[in-house]
């Protein structure tokens, strides 16, 4: 993916934070808010503009779960692994999603359609196990339901 405004985008963000202590993490937040993830090109540009080693930037990016290094998918599938969902069979659902989409936690399918993330407790344990696709909630999901749920969105 080529972002033509990248250099300028980074410059604006760096400008905003450059005199503040602990600014690297705030800059990375702003970049992720802008693009939905932190592209390598953006990290390189930050490295150049802030005279910070790229290795330092990646230490921060990979330390915090929040930062994403790959573009988010069109749809984000969140599987709850909170205690209730876990006990009610969430691991099998993740297995099934991995099997169908060939992605691991935190990854996006090659076609850019689905991003898989694991979350802790969505606050509706009575519906366990729970999967959400973006804002749509699927409750008491069985392994055999997974293909249907994915299929629903693939057609869109």
């Amino acid at each position: 993916m080529v972002i033509e405004t990248l250099s300028e985008d980074v410059r604006k963000v760096v400008e905003r934070w450059k005199d503040k202590e602990g600014n690297l993490i705030m800059i990375l937040h702003d970049i992720q808010d802008r693009y939905g993830y932190v592209p390598r090109e953006a990290s390189l540009e930050i490295s150049r503009q802030m005279d910070q080693p790229l290795a330092r930037i990646y230490e921060v990016l990979t330390f915090y779960n929040y930062f994403k290094l790959t573009p988010p998918g069109k749809f984000t599938i969140s599987v709850c692994m909170g205690t209730a969902c876990y006990l009610k069979g969430a691991p099998a659902l993740i297995d099934e999603i991995r099997h169908i989409l060939h992605v691991d936690e935190g990854e996006t399918t090659k076609d850019g359609l689905f991003h898989l993330q694991i979350v802790r407790c969505l606050g509706c344990c009575g519906l366990a196990p729970v999967i959400t696709v973006d804002h749509k909630v699927y409750s008491a999901v069985k392994r055999s339901d997974v293909a249907t749920i994915i299929g629903e969105h693939s057609k869109k």
Binding site: R40, S43, R48, P53, L54, A55, R56, Y58, E59
Partner: protein, 587 residues
């Protein structure tokens, strides 16, 4: 100016201890002959408090303290060993081992591994915890050092060496928790990272997680091939470090024993890189005089014998290329002389010659195929590079009783050297050697005192002025890549503002202490060890009759018979090289 040192008093295992304030508990305990075990602390580096083995108790404090990073304080009453402490240490160690492979027998660090040693010391006999290994493939993309993350214990030494000592930033911790691993930024290959193969990471690694690319097998194969004519050369810094593998006092100079050893291993000709260091000086000093006296070429002139420095410069100081000495490094010069001059004189087919360089350095493995000028003889000039550590292993494998070998001499044709050649292995040595000959080139006479003590020693940057019959030559010597920036920025600032140059001549060696502290040298180096190794070289220089490269009779002979004169067309073709800017990314 004298500063008052505040002393603090306390107890370690009931024994009174008095140490300067700021001393760690670990070092305070040593004062009363107590060794607190540790896996991550290296005397050469700052404590990272990463492993948790060095825990101790302080009476009145319920928490256990990490001795490596906690200062000893007034009134402290430290217990270093009791059943609870030992049990905790064993648990910590068992947890570390539960993430570590057990293939010690086929690991490069077998018998020379800090983790293996501590596991043996603690008498670990079973796997108490389920073993979970990181499934990350080894990275051999550099061909000089190999990064094998599954053997990593996350002590962070390599990162401290790479980021702070060398300012290279090829290595960093990626991710967190179980997934923590050592990697270049964002899981790229080392070859795509700023790595310059200096090997300091490998010299500081406690396990086999970062290890030199082992080329000993290639050497054995060449030695056993009747078609090949194997030729060896040994770098200055190797002779004062190899003894550490055999119980010699640090800094013992074993030059002549090494010559004898090489013949026992089966080498047909035994040369010395020191000879080629003299040759490098002839070319480099001539180059300096051309620029300094005759204005042919820009100043400052910057030395280029160090391949890690060359790689670093090509990546980050591409705009300084014209300042780089075009003279090849000594072992490359010897390689090409071996396959041309020596081959012709001895009537040997150069295609049969296998040149092996024994170096204190992992970057030399990269240098031998760096650019086409490394094939100036028509063949690859140097075929194989092994490090001091690899040589030690070869000696052990060969079954030669190294310690009992009688001294022998090198084959003088490419093996005789002046004192100037041997000090090449220490920071400041190349500068000192070059000044001895440059002085002669300018004035036509030798220095009365050839010692330049201002450029010796372990200060990160050494700046001084040398008087050449009324003309001041300003010089700088930097070692440890983190010290380069100061010198280079000073030059750039002067250039930008049209001010007089801060220096006329700059020496850079990538490793702290120069080659004696090289990335391929024996483990557990400290500044004290660097000093002792350097002393071994300076003592040799001091004791020699011929101290200047231009006075070496075999150097005079090779110019007379073959190279004509320094910077001649032939010398240019065979002994010089070029550089190319290859910007990577900003570190």
């Amino acid at each position: 100016m004298s500063s008052v040192v505040t002393m603090v008093k306390g107890f370690v295992n009931g024994r009174a201890v008095e140490v300067p304030a700021g001393t760690t508990i670990l070092d305070a305990a040593k004062k009363v002959q107590v060794n607190i075990p540790t896996l991550c602390k290296h005397a050469d580096l700052l404590p990272s408090a990463g492993c948790g083995i060095c825990i101790v108790k302080a009476k009145g404090n319920r928490k256990m303290l990490r001795a490596c990073c906690t200062p000893f304080e007034n009134g402290m009453d430290i217990v270093t060993h009791d059943p609870e402490i030992v049990k905790t240490r064993i648990t910590v160690l068992e947890l570390i081992l539960s993430n570590h492979p057990t293939d010690c027998l086929i690991c490069g660090r077998n018998n020379d591994c800090e983790l293996q040693k501590i596991a043996a010391d603690f008498g670990i006999r079973d796997d108490r915890f389920q073993r979970i290994l990181a499934e990350i493939p080894a990275d051999n993309s550099k061909g000089t050092i190999i990064l094998d993350p599954k053997k990593c214990i996350k002590c962070g030494r390599c990162i401290d060496a790479c980021q702070n000592m060398q300012d290279v930033w090829a290595l960093s911790f990626i991710d967190r928790g179980f997934k923590t691993r050592i990697s270049p930024a964002g899981d790229i290959k080392l070859s795509e990272s700023p790595c310059v193969s200096c090997g300091q990471c490998s010299a500081h690694c406690p396990t086999g997680a970062i290890f030199e690319h082992d080329d000993t097998r290639k050497v054995w194969e060449a030695l056993q091939d009747p078609e090949k004519y194997c030729v060896v050369q040994v770098a200055p810094a190797v002779r004062v470090a190899v003894g550490e593998g055999f119980g010699y006092p640090v800094g013992t100079n074993l030059t002549k024993k090494l010559y004898a050893l090489f013949r026992r291993l089966g080498f047909k000709a035994v040369f010395d890189t020191n000879f080629a260091a003299d040759l490098t000086i002839m070319e480099e000093a001539a180059e300096f005089v051309e620029r300094f006296v005759h204005g042919k070429g820009p100043l400052p002139l910057i030395t280029s014998c160090c391949p890690a420095w060359v790689d670093y410069m090509e990546k980050y100081y591409g705009d300084m290329i014209q300042h780089f000495s075009t003279a090849k490094s000594p072992h490359e010069m010897l390689g090409v002389m071996s396959k041309t001059y020596y081959a012709q004189k001895k009537n040997i087919d150069p295609s049969k010659i296998v040149n092996v360089s024994v170096m204190p350095c992992t970057a030399k493995k990269y240098e031998i195929t760096r650019v086409e000028e490394m094939f100036a003889s028509g063949y690859q000039d140097v075929d194989i590079v092994i490090t001091t550590r690899e040589l030690i292993r070869m000696i052990k494998q060969a079954g030669v009783e190294f310690e009992s070998l009688a001294d022998e001499d090198a084959d003088l044709i490419l093996g005789d050297y002046a004192g100037a050649g041997t000090i090449f292995g220490a920071t400041g040595g190349v500068m000192e050697a070059a000044l001895r000959t440059a002085y002669y080139n300018v004035t036509g006479e030798n220095l009365k005192d050839v010692n330049f003590k201002d450029v010796r020693g372990l200060d990160g940057v050494k700046e001084t002025e040398v008087d050449v019959k009324g003309t001041k030559v300003r010089i700088a010597v930097a070692h440890g890549l983190a010290n380069v920036k100061y010198v280079m920025e000073k030059v750039k600032a002067a250039q930008k503002n049209n001010e007089p140059l801060p220096y006329h001549f700059i020496e850079v060696m990538a490793c702290p202490g120069g080659c004696v502290g090289g990335g391929g040298q024996p483990y557990m180096v400290t500044d004290e060890i660097r000093k002792q190794r350097a002393k071994g070289l300076y003592d040799e220089d001091e004791a020699m009759e011929v101290r200047c490269s231009h006075d070496n009779p075999h150097i005079q002979q090779i110019y007379k018979e073959f190279l004509e004169k320094p910077l001649s067309e032939k010398a240019h073709h065979l002994l010089h090289t070029q550089y190319k800017s290859r910007p990577l990314y900003v570190k």
